[in-house]
Symmetry: C2
Subunit: 363 residues, 2 copies
Amino acid sequence: MRFQAIEMSVHNFNSGPSILPQPVLEQAAKAIHDFNGTGLSILEIGHRTSHFQSVLDSAIGSVKRLMQLDDQYEVLFLHGGATTQFMQVPMNLLDQGETAAYCDNGIWGNKAYKEAALFGNAVLASSSADRSHTYIPKDLNIPANTKYLHITTNNTVEGTQWHNYPNVEIPLIGDMSSDIFSREVDFKKFSLIYAGAQKNMGAAGVNMLVIKKDILGKIQRKIPTIMSYQKHIEAGSLMNTPPVFAVYVSMLTLQWIEQEGGLAEMGKRSQERADLLYNTIDSLPLFQAKVAKEDRSQMNTVFFIEDESLQNLFLDQCKQAGFVGVKGYRTVGGIRVSMYNALPMSSVKAMTDLMQDFAKQHG
Amino acid sequence: MRFQAIEMSVHNFNSGPSILPQPVLEQAAKAIHDFNGTGLSILEIGHRTSHFQSVLDSAIGSVKRLMQLDDQYEVLFLHGGATTQFMQVPMNLLDQGETAAYCDNGIWGNKAYKEAALFGNAVLASSSADRSHTYIPKDLNIPANTKYLHITTNNTVEGTQWHNYPNVEIPLIGDMSSDIFSREVDFKKFSLIYAGAQKNMGAAGVNMLVIKKDILGKIQRKIPTIMSYQKHIEAGSLMNTPPVFAVYVSMLTLQWIEQEGGLAEMGKRSQERADLLYNTIDSLPLFQAKVAKEDRSQMNTVFFIEDESLQNLFLDQCKQAGFVGVKGYRTVGGIRVSMYNALPMSSVKAMTDLMQDFAKQHG
């Protein structure tokens, strides 16, 4: 059982799907047996019922409160992950012959850029490929008449994060999959935000979108019904059977965030976790973080031990200690520690304790 | 709790999401707490782990065994529902200027037809719109050089079902969302089968696809990465984070089907449920089923009481009796009783008992 396992020190540093709050898991398991006293499982209820409508309304309400959005914005919960949005964003916003600018600061932003090229003229506003995406360029090259600028607010694989969003006159679009709701930011800087839920916001299988309505209706392309933001807005996220359970888990996770104190509290915790881990890295010469200090991610910390056999030994010891998900992404290597909203400080402490011990023995 | 609720006679006739087997729900709830002794919830495990790979492999294995597929076929589990496939099928298989034929036998098949028109020349091979989709035309009009024929094997809304699939020389494509795995059929007649999982095969949020590989690679269009069947096959359904939990529930449901005796047993049960309900309708003049007898669906039975106030009274009594999901679809009206794999005969019996009583009082 999980509870015993936690006593046995399972620490979940997965990059996504990742750790969720314990009360969310308990409530979700309960709803599999019986959803709100209906005598039915959450997996068995109709999506066009007041039962599910109240789930959807509650999730949307939480998003609007947490982001402090006004009526210019619509919130959608749709099938798919962020990768679906790599296509869906330009399909809805970029006509053939029009230009969109992308920041290539990591593997996911680069994929988004490549998909946009199928729909229009995609250009790079910046790229940090010259230094293996270990920093975020602040000088952006945006041609005249660019339709929108796309950034990835946190780069899960490389461990970088935008700490000050760019100021641009054109619509700003953010893939916030891996740092959404981890701190207070000015969401209203964006005209479109999307996030796969499986990090800070729930389980895999649903995309949350925030859309400023004034960006829609400005292209000529005929959009397949299921891909049209406008039609999803008109249908209130109920054009087809939604991923009911995934939306429900998002609702629970969003409620948990609000109950814990909202984004101010999440931001405080993110900072504390990140401070402890980065300070430990900086204090131990054995470990190197290659990311530019000002661009360090509070969500995903990527670091290395130069001696590869020592690094493998460290990863082995992590495994023995019950640390899950700490091997770096296959294209980057090294060690990656993901610290999402639900990760307790005790897990970060367990990691830094092991690092201290390891450095004493091998430093 | 569900168990008490069942004693209180909740009968789930939902058209989808719909009733699931009790052992599947129990196992799913357990996995939310702890997945296979990992100390992690199924919602928290990484998708690129042996844990999830074994879930995916098991689900695919069950599909291949149940359908008796050889290596010419690939099985995928993808984000989205059948509505996504309305677009994805022609995007992958139909070039601009090419022709695809669709059978318009209901609301969903008609939607599929309309989406295809965005990608090529979509024509109707048949339509039963002349009689409100209450039958399935067997004479098909398929032009020369048609790329594929698309049918909806069961029409959830109208209550019709193909009992003998058409014999055609071109690739046959089936939307089997609402009758998949309900009986033994010759799946190898199809070059592509898709099904949203939320009826006979699990929870909402995942699409199962069976693709005969020889239909791929025959168009010029550049396909967005996340929409490409070929790329999903190459990535083994792991191009991006899959809807982990929905795949897991599908795996459990497929295992349950196999353990219960496979499609032969499912077919026997489908027949028994349908016989009891249709025989009751036919024996009671108060109730009318408008669907052509030879095309009656074993999954969704649509029937009416001519006097609308009596019909509303019947629906009220259904509600009081704990019958869920029996109101007809908004465009069709009447009464709809959905009887998927997990529905016990006792629920059908409870329905027909009420019908008998009601007919005695009001017939």
